[in-house]
Symmetry: D3
Subunit: 251 residues, 6 copies
């Protein structure tokens, strides 16, 4: 069980990702087979719970992509369960402080580096008996920057050992800054967006962001090396709506 | 519980439909809210089983569309279960003969018109205590024409009392005619395609066809008044693939 | 694994039963603990599929009652699966002929008496290694009389070896006789109802009927020794509706 | 997506509610169609988890009632997930302090008013693109008063901005006061019960209580304008038990 | 998507298989990773239904083994659904005649060779756009010989075009021959067992058998080249029972 | 609903247990029927979530063993839900302090002894109307000792009222002590292992440990009276692997 996303990052490359909100392993496999560097199972705002997540992680693995999970909250038990299931990265929402990030890192690392509990049911199945020895290195810990408090401390957060990337949530960060939800709001969002990229680059970690295909080039140019550019549920609705529009206009 | 699709047909209008292969009620509701005249839950080639189908039928209802179900085979028990759950139409695959169509019709109708068994758990919930009196009229019976045998007898099949529409399965019909799978193959498929439309029109029933947005105008011009123009799973994969292509080309 | 219902019948006694349409093991256990002689899992008109049925059968067992299953149709595979799961009786709907009943009996009996396939995953778990030796005796085969054809042949059907009881479906039998759905319709239903009871008594088997609490005494007096007197879903709705009525009237 | 319950409250009227402990969407729809002002999905003591809750919320919506959810604990992630699914109110158990209530309120409100994270998958589907603008007003936040600490601070809790109602849990409040479980225990419960109603009225918010049909009139007279008067699971068991009693007594 | 099992058979080699009765994808993946040539999902006597089967087929694929499915009965719809999900072989129980085998073969082959319906949702995902062209060759059709009627016609059945192997069900074959259930009963079972192997060899197809580790060598020596030697559920119970025995004896 | 495990402990006897990681009620029932004093449903590292846990608890009950649950974390809501479902003991992982143990005890006890919330849906079903009166005595609270902090305070933790046993997690305790994962590591693990046993014995509570069959005798001799000696998932894989090894070596 290698972590191809981490290898890319270590080689200075970027990764493009897809986002899953639908709890269906066919969808997970179909999306993953398209060639994304990572595919993220969203347990926070997606319609997915732990049992389904285990199936999706397997499907992403089977399709040759790197499975990432966004947990509903910064909870040791919740993070450990999806790591046991084979997730190779954890996105942690609603970070507010250094203590939050440290807790997130500890949840992703076995002692003595952290507090992860040992019982890697599927992870060890895939990785084999030496899973323990390499797990701390292979699992990516990715706190989100989406609150004003996190933004204010972003340089400190980026410097915390064990953090592999920081991931921008544009909607929540916008709300926290007094703006409406949006993928690419004007200032003060733009300033925050550049500050986070710089903080990551300066700290030698990866800057990540929740985005869409249109914004990808801008994000890459700004220094973001982890860009989520498509979500299953919205692609589905957009696609079906476009089909309906096309059919109607052809009448 | 009215059947808005049937009302449209009775008014001489056409209906556009969507197809569901993913067992998720959010998807069903999201698609149905787009404004399709019917949304079909596919238990034959979709990834959906009976328990999920009951949730999808509810979601389609909630979103104001007409729920149709394609059953895996021409089986009385299977047809009755989804009718009990509130399906307002049944698409029956792989019809071969007059006897097949008569069996399908009987499965959709209470005695003495048919052999449907009484126990409309959700259907009666929605329609109220007088469900029995109107069920035989409200439920659409839609056999598929997708084998050579069915094609050869299509005029007879269209004339069988209780048939509301015949539905073309282009892939299977193509295979049966010695062609590869395809949505709009050349002859002998084209001849069959026109013959089915004419048989339906002559018999005073609706011609239906499994299609896509591009083919909709052609089908409508040929006389098809029930055209399925989008499928959740393929719209999803097409959309995500297009996003990935766009993101990559913008690098 | 004894079949307490069969023992009661052998002792000349009657059995009262409950009916399950809701796929939830708490409901199954709660109902079964009330003291019914049998509890029937309805896979035909209930909202229950095979995986849920296995949980309900376990719950009924755990609560000390006898688990019966109504299958969606007279299908060897479907009958065998729920017998494997530990069902101690099978109610088979929509019987039309002697051949139908013989097929139902054969599906409930191991060779050479029948055609049941061997693989009693949970049944053997409960009954132990000698399950095979006693299974044919312990499993009750209960065809339904609910079509005119079955009624016309009821004396012949009752005499078929291996039949333990015949079970009246009042709604479907009414429809088949040209009446509306009903639990206790007037003639010709009443004559049919008495004829079936007599045919069973004459053949030395049990007469059963789908009913409610109000009709129980009448059915018992008529000779029915298997009377289903309550259904989970309707008891629930009646109870909640009565609560609402009470609360509103007290305003 | 209007919140009819809130509209009633704003008009000075009361709301009667039902309670769901069974994870089945048919039950949810059947109960909701009876005409309750709200129907609450209980994730704390009910047998329901998040995936089932999403189906029940949809069913309640489909049936025209207002979906409320009781979460297992005062957890931001858990509250956000059911709000995303379309819940229009949140009942939060085991409140102990002003800080607890403030956290509950913040979990129900988007920034800057609160800390709710943006990602309203089904809520936005139902409400449309302007969901964000009205969500904070439409979602009801309903902390429970069921501990001695909460009771002691009830006037302060009722005055916290963003609280729409306080909801009494008679069993837990009784235990906390040294009494056995009970729906309407004597003093000190009665004094607490009146104090809570008065605190709510004085603060201009709604007093709510978990009850049954018998107690409804008393609660209304005491000033409670949110009264839960029936629970699916207990109505089911009471109904089936009554049927069995009736059938046995008629022998 | 290659069929490694078929390739082995074509090379004259044998295949060892495992059997799954437990509906859990971790189990499927863990077993498949051990190195079996095929892993069979049992929908007849296993505790597995279609939705779970789709997850297990994916897990078997992910682990690098060849997924086979035993269907509950010789039903076109049921066979097509698991083939759509990516099964690379179908074991069909309770064959009685040439017509039965021909129906099984037709269910596994697209027209004009057979009657399989086109809609390979996951199969095409794995195999790519040319799935149709190679599917008929890649999917193994494996009827069971486990009734006296099938035994009597075994030479004819083995010669039917499209049959890849015949698979002995020792328990059911024993029952059909008047013997108790057993994995290796004495005559007349032994004679039947040898006759089936010879019929397959003579017809140039593979002889398969449901077995255990102890019997494997004997079966191989008799000419069986498809031997199932372990089942998840029984291995689990044997293992836990052995642990308990060991712990108790060490007291 | 008696707690046979507690009765054994009160009689000075030991209990042998099994561990469930697979979410399948057949597995739970099959394992429980082997005669274990307790069977533990693992929600932390097992592949089991709350809805499945309710089925497994029922299955363990049905098979006559005592159902225990390990929760994912020391969370009041999570502990209450499985107690409501009928668990008779709770194993709480990752204890660090006296405050942690006190919180665990309070989550297992109704007021005034603790903070458990009242709503025992299945527990009351099994135990009857007087469940409340005996619940606090019947439910076992079993904190885990698997961190260095807990080890350092083990004598204090063992003395906290309401603790019935302390349960050693050898893997996590080893990691916390700077050792690799292991069931019976050398010092400093051995010293810790003996210290915990002595602390429990001195405090008059039970010492428990996660183990295997080989280590059972040693643990018993050291004073451990709660020894888990088998896990479903590992027994399964070991058994199937042994079958494959046997079959291959016999070629």
């Amino acid at each position: 069980m290698t972590n191809a996303l981490k290898q890319k990052w270590q080689a200075g490359e970027s990764g493009l990702g897809a986002w899953l909100a639908i709890p269906n392993s066919w969808v997970a496999e179909a999306v993953s087979r398209l060639g994304f560097d990572y595919v993220c199972v969203d347990l926070q705002h997606g319609m997915i719970d732990y049992p389904d997540a285990t199936e999706l992680i397997l499907a992403i693995h089977a399709a040759g992509s790197t499975p990432i999970v966004r947990v509903p909250s910064n909870d040791l038990g919740a993070i450990n369960r999806v790591l046991d299931a084979g997730a190779l990265g954890i996105i942690v929402p609603l970070i507010e402080s250094v203590a939050d990030v440290e807790a997130a890192v500890q949840a992703c690392r076995y002692p003595p580096a952290g507090r992860r509990s040992y019982g890697p049911n599927r992870a060890a199945l895939v990785a084999g008996p030496n899973y323990f020895e390499t797990a701390n290195e292979k699992v990516l810990c990715i706190p989100m920057i989406e609150t004003r408090a996190a933004l204010d401390a972003v340089e400190d957060l980026a410097a915390i050992p064990g953090v592999d990337a920081l991931y921008v949530g544009p909607n929540d960060l916008s709300l926290s800054l007094g703006l409406p939800p949006g993928a690419d709001n004007p200032d003060p969002y733009q300033a925050a967006y550049r500050r986070i990229a710089k903080a990551c680059t300066d700290a030698g970690i990866v800057a990540g962001i929740h985005a869409n295909a249109e914004l990808c080039a801008k994000h890459r140019a700004t220094g973001y090396r982890m860009v989520t550019i498509s979500t299953d549920a919205s692609a589905l609705v957009r696609g079906v709506a476009a089909d309906l529009e096309k059919a109607r206009s052809a009448r």
